[in-house]
Amino acid sequence: MKAVFIIFNQANTSHIEFMLDELKINGFTFFEQVQGRGSHTGEPRRGTHSWPEMNSAVITVVEDEKVEELLSCVHKLDLRNKDVGIRAFVWNVEQTV
């Protein structure tokens, strides 16, 4: 099991929901308002006057074989418009109850 942490511009929310449904990923945790900025290209999303946009984030724990498919979709969405912004990070799930 892997945990995939996807951070994306709020404006992509409906795309993400569609993607998860399409990939038959049922479980996720959704953070509606998160702030952040990219290490290289990403504009800050701070919800301030200068940087008014905001991000949302989703953590979804999926089977290992689904990860590749999911990341591919995330990348495709990123290709749609680089400025909007989406990133995904994957790490191991040690234990679950």
Partner: protein
Amino acid sequence: MSIYKSAINKPVTTVLVFVAVIVIGLFCYRQLPIDQFPEMDPPYITVMTTYAGASASEIETNVTKLLENSLNSVDGLKSITSQSKDNLSMVLLEFEWGLDLDEVINDIRSYVDMAKNNLPDGCSTPFILKFSSSAMPIAQYAITADESYAGLDKILNDELLPVLNQVDGIGNLTLSGTPERYIYVEVDQQKLDAYGISLETISNMIGANNLNMSSGTVKMPKEQYQMEVRSEYVESSEIADIVVTTTMDGRQVFVRDIATIRDTIKDLSLDEKFNSRDAVRLIVSKQTGANTVKICRELEKEINKAAKMLPTDVHIEKVYDSADDIQQSISSLEESILYALLFVVLVVLFFLGKWRAALIISLTIPISLIVAFIYLKFVDSSLNIISLCSLSVAIGMVVDDAIVVLENITKHISRGSSPREAAIYATNEVWVSVIATTLVIAAVFIPMTMLSGIAGIMFKELGWIVTIVVSTSTITAITLTPMLCSKLLKARPVHVDENGRLVEDDLHTGWYQKYIVGFLNKVDVWYAKALQACLRHKALTLAFCFLLFFASLIPLASGQIGTDFMQEGDNGRITVNVELQLGTRIDETLKTARKLEARFCELVPEIRLISTSAGSNDDAGVSAIFSSTTNYKISMRITCSKKNERERGIFEIAEVLREEMAKYPEIVSFQAQTSGGMGGGGTSVEVEIYGYDFDETNRVAEQIRQRIQENVPGARDIINSRDKDRVELMVNLDKEKLARHGLTSGTVATYLRNRVNGVTAGLLKDDGDEYYIVVRLKEENRNSITSIEDISIPAPTGQNIKLSEVATIGEYWTPPTITRKSRQRYLTLMVTPYRTSLGDLAAAIEQEIGQIDIPNGITYRLAGNFEDQQESFADMGTLMLLIIMLVYIVMASQFESFAKPAIIMFAIPFALTGVIAALLITGTTLDIIGALGIIMLVGIVVKNGIVLVDYINLLRDRGHELSEAIAMAGASRLRPVLMTAFTTILGMLPMALSRGEGSEMWHPLGIVVMGGLLVSTIITLIVVPVMYALMSRHGERDKEEKNRKNFIFMQIADDRKPSNK
């Protein structure tokens, strides 16, 4: 959940809420009455006191002065003027506009009660009278007739008035100049003397034989009857056969032997002519609060219906109808609003190029405007010039917020977001700043509602309406606009090609993209270059701008911009007042009147109607208050064709009439005034001359009048408020001789009145109406001093005494009415400007008066509209300061900076440059409406600056270098700034260009705002960035350095032991 998110998620609710608002608004709109101005009670209250037998100066000292002293401390009193005439004292109190007059009246009552004990015995209780605007006539009709003229009174009273009285809301119907039927018994003085009878005997005999009286019941064996003496006259000829007395030799003396009986119409004292034909004037007033337009329309319908039943030679024509004026000015304003709407939509379409976007933005206009109707309904106001003008002013501003929101949503959509998400997140980004700009507008318009005085009445509604409309537009912009965007806007068309790559469909086709976008891009580039150049030469740019600013002040300082109170409207009516030599007989006056009428019609073919009255109706009703014609005065109401149907303005026409009247030697003084009644906004300078001595003040007034007439070219229609002294005949009775004959002054006065004025001997009843039978001496026996001296007075001893035996008759000058203001005697000279501004005229008059040697004890001051103007300008100056401060506060709190608002406000002075240029080019004078425009400019100009500075701030915050940020912001914000500026400018265009009736008043507003905004927009785009660059050098550059100092912990040495990694 935020308001815009809810709106987008619940489109049905949102749409229906707005539909509901529209429906309620339209419902209110239908119910709104139409009127010229918002309901305003003129703040005048009169205290009238009669004191029989006292002369004017006695009244002044014993009544007027006491009342004045007492009433002077009433709260809110603006000025106190008074008139003291024989038997009558009138104190007129003027209050600040907008006071609660009921409360004031209570106050006055208690002060009057206090003063009452000190008033002389025999003085009546002071009567408090509130002047109400509803007493003003709303319509006038002229009724002309040929054969039926003599019977017109009866025809009208029986057939026309009862029908008209049924019109809902009608107040008073007054007929003026109706020929009344009178039966005159004109007695020959010589014959009276010959028969040794008195005039009173004749009238008693005529009266005694004219009665019906019940004589009781007669009971017969079976029946019972009422018995009655019936000897009332059926025809006037019966009077001739009445026996007055029987002589010693048994001969009977009939009325016909000593008198002639004339069954005729009342002797002419008031002559009404309508286009030189005999006419009766019908004057209509309405009940308070009634809908003028509705009544006038209703009235017209009824009159047209009734006219068919009247004899064919009776014609009814409209002289004046305030509904026409109202409807014309309202419809010309409605036209302006529609044009403004069209222009604004076109501007939006031009800049956006998408009809869906233009539609979304345009929708905010009607919704916002309709809410104004709901407000008007709630405060019981009406559709009037002020409220409609406010809408016209607001149109250009209501789209601004929607534009900002839509622009941001479009940006998000073009990045590939779905319209729905774009709408939510884009609105989230801008809604705070949208509300902030609305606060700026509110900061300008809300203080306007706090103005006092006449300007306050006018601008209160404007302030509220603009604030409400603009606030509604903001609410619409953050609810309906995003919702509609989410539904109507389309995501950018893209497709994925065969290689799996995203391809954007090319949009760069079509003429809009080719020409207009191309043009706008060019403008962008050009502006960017210009801005770069200006930023490189900051000092030069600023120097140039300041030079421009100071150069523009030159016309202002050198007096090339005149000042006025309010532009005079051209309602196509002129009131001409002509005064002939004192004491001219009415017949002579009429001849001159006819001559003038004929000449006027020749000279001015534009004249449609002339309605003339001359003389005075001694027992006229309410209408007598509004006209002061006496035998030697002529008053004409001239109606010209509609404004757009003639080439000459009403002011030129009036000047033609004045030139004509100046040629007549018999005319002593004349005026041709263009302001007809209320709402015309006639302008004048009044010179008030204070001083106790009548002769001295008269002399000074005459001197001033002459100087003004000779040396001030723009002065017309100089009117002296003090009536000329009038010659009267005075009968001086010798009381000793009277006593010898057993007479008293009282009895002689009565006998004299009976003989000259006539005694009513009874009434002739005919067809349900009653007509007076008046017995008096025939005209030859009472038309000269000698014939009056020859009048016989019956003494109790039985003999007839000639008046000359007990009295002498002399001529004397009646003392004038004593007018006082601020408890001092005064008189006023009213001067009307022609082709000059009020301010210039006042200055010229002031200069002329300065050259006159004014004796000690006499003071003068300039008043009238000039005073109103000075007061209003002072008020507006204060208001301007207040507004600038409020706007500063709003902006400073938005930017969290003291300096940034100052940068933005730097553009305000340049708006003044534009205003001066616009006024100079169009030759308009600055009046209070123009001053209002300048105040409004503060808000509108600042709004542009906010958009720009806000974005520069944002870019600087994002880490861009100063000049880079300025250039980027300039390029990015140019279009929104131009767009909002042009919507406002073009929204004002119809107002500035309108030629409709009543549009004169609002011209200056349109001109001022357009000129000011045009110049200040250009300046904002150049000077504000330059100033920003200059002022930001300091303080912000070393921000990073400062920040570093704040977080000093970074400099602490790391004392950890090196880890063993």
